[in-house]
Symmetry: C2
DNA sequence: AGACGCTTGTGACCGCGTGCACAAGCGCGG
DNA sequence: CCGCGCTTGTGCACGCGGTCACAAGCGTCT
């Protein structure tokens, strides 16, 4: 696995596995905060996040020492700390590329905006779709992508196109200056080293499940490359 | 990480990380087969699947020795072997639970049926939705779930409900005999040990991306718990 | 003030997964 | 029939991640 140079002054480099769990803790913390509870133990958080308590403590210790021995963690402080770390205090304008079934669902999905990711543009290559309204946005042509990204400060591109357009769209996004991409298309997409890329493939998930069913084994939660 | 008893006679237990990559190889192999190419090297497969060649060889070696030194892998044979291993030669009837935006998109998504996962039921708790047609299926009430699972041999349940209904729906699925669940709801779902569970959380993915943007680091492909 | 209970933070160990590098082996050409 | 080139299959070493178990430390009660 490629290690990166320690070009960040930050002393404590948070492990990738921990980063992947921070959103779980964040969700759990919001639940707790909702109940007006002001202190949680690693045990309780572990329960809510569906992980092991020791892991919770070690993960949180990478953020700094925000717990009190004998007491637990201050919920408000931890929420602030985790959301700061996850970058949720900033604004991350999102563009959705490709408005087939999946793209439309994502455009309407509350889970995005709910957590502070604002969808600011819907883009599709099909002229027949351009101009159509979805939610409270209008579908725009791909040619305008660069201008859209510039003007609306698009930070994250979500690819929901068919597999064979995915790479082309990714290239356009990168050319327009987008440095973070979430790919839903069932295709391998290659981006330059400075661009972050994550992928979600629905068919892959089902295939992993069927593998384990077939073999009488049990699939564990995680996903993987 | 929980190890399971070796209750399968199969000598070679395929590592979880390899299982997660088999769908990638499968997709790559289909691409190659489409071009009427009958032999591929691990190098080529690696390129198409977006992984390292050594990893491809090691992964494929878990399935058995289906390559020829100096030549490569026979595409047809490998396609057969991988699909057999993934259980794609069987029928895996899928039920979708919850028909909001996401559920409807999944119901219409071609990526599912394309790879042999047949959607056989759409279920929603909202009486207002029951009876409505989506694609060529009709939304049915949750009360009928057990009967539906029995009659249509549902093997995989896809949860696309709001977070607060996810656990209840999962419990019903398990009670009805479903042993594999794919959860799209942003909630922790607990199931008995004999049930496979994987999760996909869209908001989590975005949060991971924003973390890396925030820190000037680069997110790698994988996902994780 | 001192002791006790509870919870954090972390040192240590262990196992999986990764990548390198090479030996084994197949096929072709001379 | 022998040698050469190419590609697989794998032994090995290393590092990340997970878990245990315990010391450190806070608060409370007597």
């Amino acid at each position: 696995m490629g290690r990166e140079e320690p070009d960040i002054p930050e002393a404590r480099l948070i492990p990738e596995a921990t980063v992947a769990r921070l959103p779980l803790y964040y969700r759990a913390l919001l639940q707790v905060a909702d109940q007006a509870i002001d202190t949680v133990s690693s045990e309780q958080l572990a329960e809510l996040a569906g992980v092991n308590a020791a892991k919770v403590r070690k993960d949180l210790s990478y953020l700094g020492s925000y717990g009190t021995r004998g007491v637990g963690y201050d919920v408000d402080q931890l929420v602030r700390e985790v959301s700061r770390e996850l970058g949720l205090t900033r604004d991350w304008p999102v563009a959705i590329l490709g408005l087939g079934n999946l793209g439309r669902a994502l455009a309407n999905y509350r889970g995005f905006s709910a957590r502070g990711f604002r969808i600011v543009a819907l883009v599709d290559a099909d002229p027949a779709k351009v101009g159509e309204r979805v939610g409270d946005l209008t579908i725009e042509p791909v040619d305008g992508l660069r201008a859209i990204v510039d003007e609306r400060r698009v930070a994250i591109g979500v690819i929901a196109t068919p597999a064979d357009s995915a790479q082309a769209v990714a290239d356009r996004l990168v050319a327009a200056g987008v440095r973070a991409i979430l790919n839903f298309a069932p295709a391998v997409v290659v981006v330059p080293p400075e661009v972050s890329l994550r992928k979600v493939d629905l068919a892959t998930e089902l295939q992993i499940l069927s593998f384990y069913q077939q073999h009488g084994r049990r699939a564990r939660d995680g996903a993987g490359v």
